[in-house]
């Protein structure tokens, strides 16, 4: 066994365990990556918690997460329910709705950079059909973050496919039984379907939260953290202070806080889910 898993043991030690511990050490030092680190105790943390830009990045990231993740899950679930019926061209719809979620990364950011362009972009053009004069989107500090949230909806196809699979895994016998007992559509969804797919929902929730804590590409490509720091995401700030300002000690402190927050959030979601999530065959997982 050890021969087989040795690559992972080495990889885990070198690329995960060592960096985690090293970044804990760096977080207590003044370090510019070039010269050796100098111990400064809690200075980085003190400076960080007193820094408005730091708290701004926290707020930007939290706002993005709290708005976009629940809405993404809701949309994905809605789309999956729509597709989970006998309809013509179902396969086409599924593919078409799923496909954009693969257009991730820089290509998506470039495309939406154009979509949101206030003068020639698609978004304001479509709004003009309805007589609405759209805002400046990415160029306005008040709307830039919301633009990125809207953009995130474009990628719900991935979660949708997973929910669809979950929905198709709900035994028809259960649905039939509920129908015979006179349950309506809504009530069947609420009391049968939703509990049955709650593990999938939970998993997507955790993934979605962790993913949106790490937003980087959009900020790097589309907004450069602006305008006026309105899209200064946590990881973008971390990257900037480490690799543009060479404050690796300070960034390591940011990294550790991120790590702890991710752990806590995962733990809380798991705990909460014990109450709400139904696992087939008892709580074996």
């Amino acid at each position: 066994m050890y021969a087989f898993i040795s690559p992972w043991i080495i990889g885990f030690t070198v690329f995960a365990l060592f960096p985690i511990l090293a970044s804990l050490y760096y977080s207590f030092t003044d370090y510019d990556i070039i010269h050796s680190p100098r111990w400064v105790g809690l200075d980085n943390y003190r400076e960080m918690f007193a820094d408005d830009l730091y708290w701004n990045s926290v707020m930007v990231t939290l706002k993005y997460t709290f708005i976009s993740v629940p809405l993404q899950l809701l949309l994905a679930m809605g789309f999956a329910l729509l597709l989970n019926q006998k309809l013509p061209f179902k396969g086409f719809f599924r593919t078409a709705m799923y496909f954009p979620s693969m257009v991730s990364g820089v290509a998506m950011s470039l495309l939406w950079y154009w979509v949101f362009n206030p003068q020639i972009g698609l978004f304001n053009y479509v709004l003009s059909w309805f007589g609405v004069k759209g805002p400046a989107w990415l160029m306005d500090p008040d709307t830039a973050l919301y633009s990125l949230i809207i953009m995130s909806f474009w990628g719900v196809g991935g979660a949708m496919i997973i929910f669809l699979a979950g929905l198709q895994g709900v035994p028809t016998s259960l649905l039939e039984a509920a129908r015979l007992d006179g349950a309506g559509r809504l009530s069947i969804f609420w009391h049968v379907t939703l509990p049955m797919i709650s593990p999938v929902l939970l998993f997507q929730l955790i993934l979605g939260v962790i993913e949106s804590f790490q937003v980087f590409t959009q900020a790097f490509v589309m907004t450069h953290g602006g305008p006026n720091y309105s899209t200064w995401f946590y990881v973008y700030g971390l990257y900037t202070s480490a690799f543009k300002e060479y404050r690796a000690g300070y960034s390591s402190a940011m990294a550790w806080i991120l790590l702890i927050v991710v752990l806590i959030v995962t733990y809380i979601i798991m705990k909460l889910s014990n109450r709400y999530v139904y696992y087939e065959g008892g709580k074996s997982r």
Binding site: F18, S23, I33, Y125, I210, F220
Partner: protein, 294 residues
Amino acid sequence: MITSNRMQESEVWTANRPRRKVDFTRVLSFILLILITLTMLMPLVFMVTTSFKAQRETMQYPPTLFPDSLQFSNYVDIFSRLQFGTMYQNSLMIAGITVLATLLSSSLVAYGFARFRGTGRNLMFMLLLSTMMLPYPAIMIPQFVLFSKLGWVDTFLPLIVPAFFGSAYNIFLLRQFFANLPEELFDAGRMDGCTEIGMYWKIALPLSGAAMATVAIFSFIYSWNDLLTPVLYLNSSDMFTLPVGMASLTSSKFRVAPWHLLMVASVLALLPIVILFILAQKRFVEGIVLTGIK
């Protein structure tokens, strides 16, 4: 007699629960789906058509759906103006090696976790699962220090080498797959005098086509789209990967954003993914279902 009875029954049935209502929901769903699909596809359609427009036309308002004249030259220009060919090659090479390395290492480790019960296996498996949650930004600084001490900055090594040590998601996925293979196969293999490594190679791998394809596709897309890692490590422009080079298109060095080139770049960047998607569409969806990840 029986038939007419049944017909009466069905008439009663339709009278009590009018079919029209059900149809109405389905028609509504259908219309909704059409609207959603159109909305979601619209940016993509414009992406493709804009990539064929002359730069002048990209500046027009309202945006035209179809170009006045097809500028195929855009697809040539991008190669001369952006070192696009070099970047494309770099990305393909890195993604290719990453896929092979991931397949090999992750399947090996997964086999180890699936087939043996050594001491500490469960603890290690828990550790493996927890690294799936580990945010890359939290560990990137020490990794950078490590790789720069090795003199690997501005080489592809930092992007490739970690793949040789397995990635948590893929190990997990393949482990689930291997663990479900019937034990009899391995018993038979053992009787034929097959070694463990032989059984991994001759029994487990050949049976895992779908799972391996999934891993290949996911690791390709991940590597192909990754921006943060190459941004950290690659400095000289002839080492750039596609995402790094494309990200520079929005930088301020362009007075006016070259929209047509932006879209050409996006289309070309999507091409391998589209090809993969078409080739493996069925597997793709299966794979996503298998892993529960995007």
